[in-house]
């Protein structure tokens, strides 16, 4: 390539990442590593997410382009803010393709990290506040016709002043409401297995915002159980766990479920009763909370509660009212991330194929690495 004269290319809109100094690696996103970093001059702390390019045969990864595009569209206090995009210097050494970093506002904790630390205690009011912010963020992105598609506690960030933010839009996409006779054909290889809703497991490709609501339900229960409530190690296993909790999947409770692609080929336990409230009541004492979890974990996506309805649920409007997370979080000066949590905990509480590759996720690898089936039973 005759690129030798390109050495000085000016990018007024894309500054060099060297203006930040990396402090520590804090995570592994869908498409790259995440670092805590400090601006050399202003001392401002940010999170740098490196776009992994090594295995890209089709140029800049489309997942990264999607994440950037979506983050540029979204501006909300409960959605992580993309500050800018930086680059490393392009030179002959990297074939004029330096690395690209997404620069985010820094958040001290992620929810998975907080929940895995038994020193962190949420009061009922604080749980309400966190969930309210989570649902507010979801409501906002859904209003903007974006599906998150990777709801899980590791992707929920919290700032030290008590602001919750949805993060990692690496799997997100824009959606449209299906027109009659023209169903959408989205990939169903999304959402980390433990948070994946039944319609995706049954092969639905014409899915809606309800897939994120299911994830919100799993996360809500996890605020009390402190570990993921359904830790399947294969799609089949995950469906079995869902049935054990939410009852048998039949056309009676879920209209037209028998039309889904995998309904016939997967084994769906019969005669199971719905026992969401029953199985969670030893953890969750609040009746309103139990009722909301039950509604968020509705089997039929068409009748599963919406973010809007959830926000109007009595849970948020009965005493104790949601209260600021600032006081509780201010007691914890040490950042808590799932990635930095003790090793033992990671092995115990991770979907088997973590860190998951970009979609398709947790498929073949899942069964190979398979967790001990006993581990999920421990959850209850």
């Amino acid at each position: 390539m005759a690129t030798y004269q390109r050495e000085v290319i000016e990018f007024p809109y894309c500054e060099e990442v060297s203006k930040y100094e990396k402090i520590i690696k804090i995570g592994q996103g869908t498409f790259g590593e995440v670092f805590k970093a400090r601006h050399q001059k202003t001392r401002k702390i940010v999170a740098l997410k490196k776009v992994l390019m090594e295995n890209e045969k089709e140029g800049f990864p489309i997942t990264a382009l999607r994440e950037i595009k979506i983050l540029q569209l979204l501006r909300h206090e409960n959605v992580v803010t993309l500050l800018e995009i930086c680059r490393t210097k392009a030179s002959a050494y990297n074939r004029y393709k330096g690395s690209i970093y997404l620069v985010f506002e820094f958040c001290e904790h992620d929810l998975a990290g907080l929940l895995s630390n038994s020193n962190v205690q949420f009061s009922l009011g604080e749980i309400k506040e966190a969930l309210k912010q989570l649902l507010n963020g979801l409501y906002y992105i859904h209003q903007n016709k974006v599906l998150h598609r990777d709801m899980k506690t590791a992707n929920i960030l919290l700032t030290k002043d008590g602001r919750l933010k949805l993060a990692d839009f690496g799997l997100a996409r824009a959606f449209s409401f299906p027109k009659p006779g023209q169903p959408n054909r989205y990939t169903n290889r999304v959402v980390t297995l433990w948070y994946r809703p039944p319609e995706l497991l049954l092969g639905e490709r014409n899915y809606t915002q309800a897939i994120d609501v299911w994830g919100a339900g799993c996360i809500m229960a996890e605020m009390w159980t402190r570990s993921p409530i359904m830790q399947g190690n294969t799609e089949q296993h995950q469906l079995t766990l869902i049935t054990h909790l939410c009852g048998s999947i039949t056309p009676e409770v879920w209209q037209d479920v028998d039309q889904l692609e995998l309904y016939q080929s997967l084994e769906l336990p019969k005669g199971q009763k719905r026992k969401v409230k029953d199985r969670l009541k030893s953890y969750v004492k609040d009746q309103y909370a139990l009722d909301l979890i039950d509604k968020l974990l509705g089997l039929d996506p068409k009748t599963r509660t919406s973010t809007d309805e959830a926000l109007n649920h009595d849970f948020f409007w009965e005493d104790p009212m949601p209260c600021s997370l600032t006081r509780m979080l201010s007691q914890h000066t040490q950042s808590m991330y799932e990635y930095l949590a003790p090793r033992r905990r990671i092995q115990q509480n991770h979907p088997p194929s973590h860190p998951a590759p970009p979609p398709p996720r947790q498929n073949a690898a899942t069964s190979k690495l398979g967790l001990n089936t006993a581990s999920f039973e421990k959850t209850y």
């Binding site: 800049f60 569209l73 995009i85």
Partner: protein, 317 residues
Amino acid sequence: MPCWFYEPEDLLNTPSMKDGMDEGTEARYRREGARFIIEAGTAMKLRYDTMATGVVYFHRFYMFHTFKEFPRYRLTQGSLWSPCDVIIVDWSSLFIFGWKSRRNTKKCKDIIRIAKEILPDHHFAAFGDDPKEEIMTYERILLQTIKFDLQVEHPYSYLLKYAKTFKGDKEKIQKLVQMAWTFVNDSLCTTLCLQWEPHITAVAFLYLAGRLSKSDLLDWSGKSTKNKWWESLSEDVSLDIMEDQQILLGCSRKPLHQIDKSPLTSDAEKSKDEPRAKHSKSEVREAHTTASTPPPSKSKSVTIVHDKKQPVQNQCL
């Protein structure tokens, strides 16, 4: 977010012009670049808005880089290519990206195959020994230049939206929108997308189409509430603005052989004869808010009407 809209004087002071290129040549490069993207996009059966996105990226790109800078390195190799042949490399990369950012995910090799099909061999040679690597390098340069700003709106969606508000004969409405749509297609070859927000362009082109077709459709226009129909569509549109867009479109509609024969004079003369917007955008908007929009000059519209009577080549649809 960067501002991707420029004042007329900025467009007379582009990186290429600072680098010694004259206005006519730059206009020609831009036109040819846009056409290549549309042509290749049509061959790949891309959606109209995907191609338009590629073209917008292309125009933005050359507000930061010069047409000389980017293809120049090739010329130093003692090749026989002229600069305009070589910018193909840029076009292709712009366009790979335009299509990737929408969901038409095709493989890089597809674009190379199509470029090979539609380009003469000596043009295709500009892609070098490793066309794929070349395209991906340019893609990266492009992304960094345009600040990864992937949200691009086009006048098309506004045309459709506004058309829904028109009342009257369906066929007439369709004709009107079709005409405005063609103007949008044609305007991609100009720097219009660097000057006006897409909703303003949409209103102006509907207005223009209405005038040209002597359509009575636009008379409906909520007479009871507002004075002009376009004011009910968009608050920041004034007659001045629309006249300005007509002039631009008029420029682009000039018989192409004339422009191509004498790239050094045609556009320059044009700008002397018919000075473009007299006001800066902000002034225009101010004038509008004080509700003192001057009546459209008759003679101006007439000349444009003549221009427009020439067959409009529809490149995109």
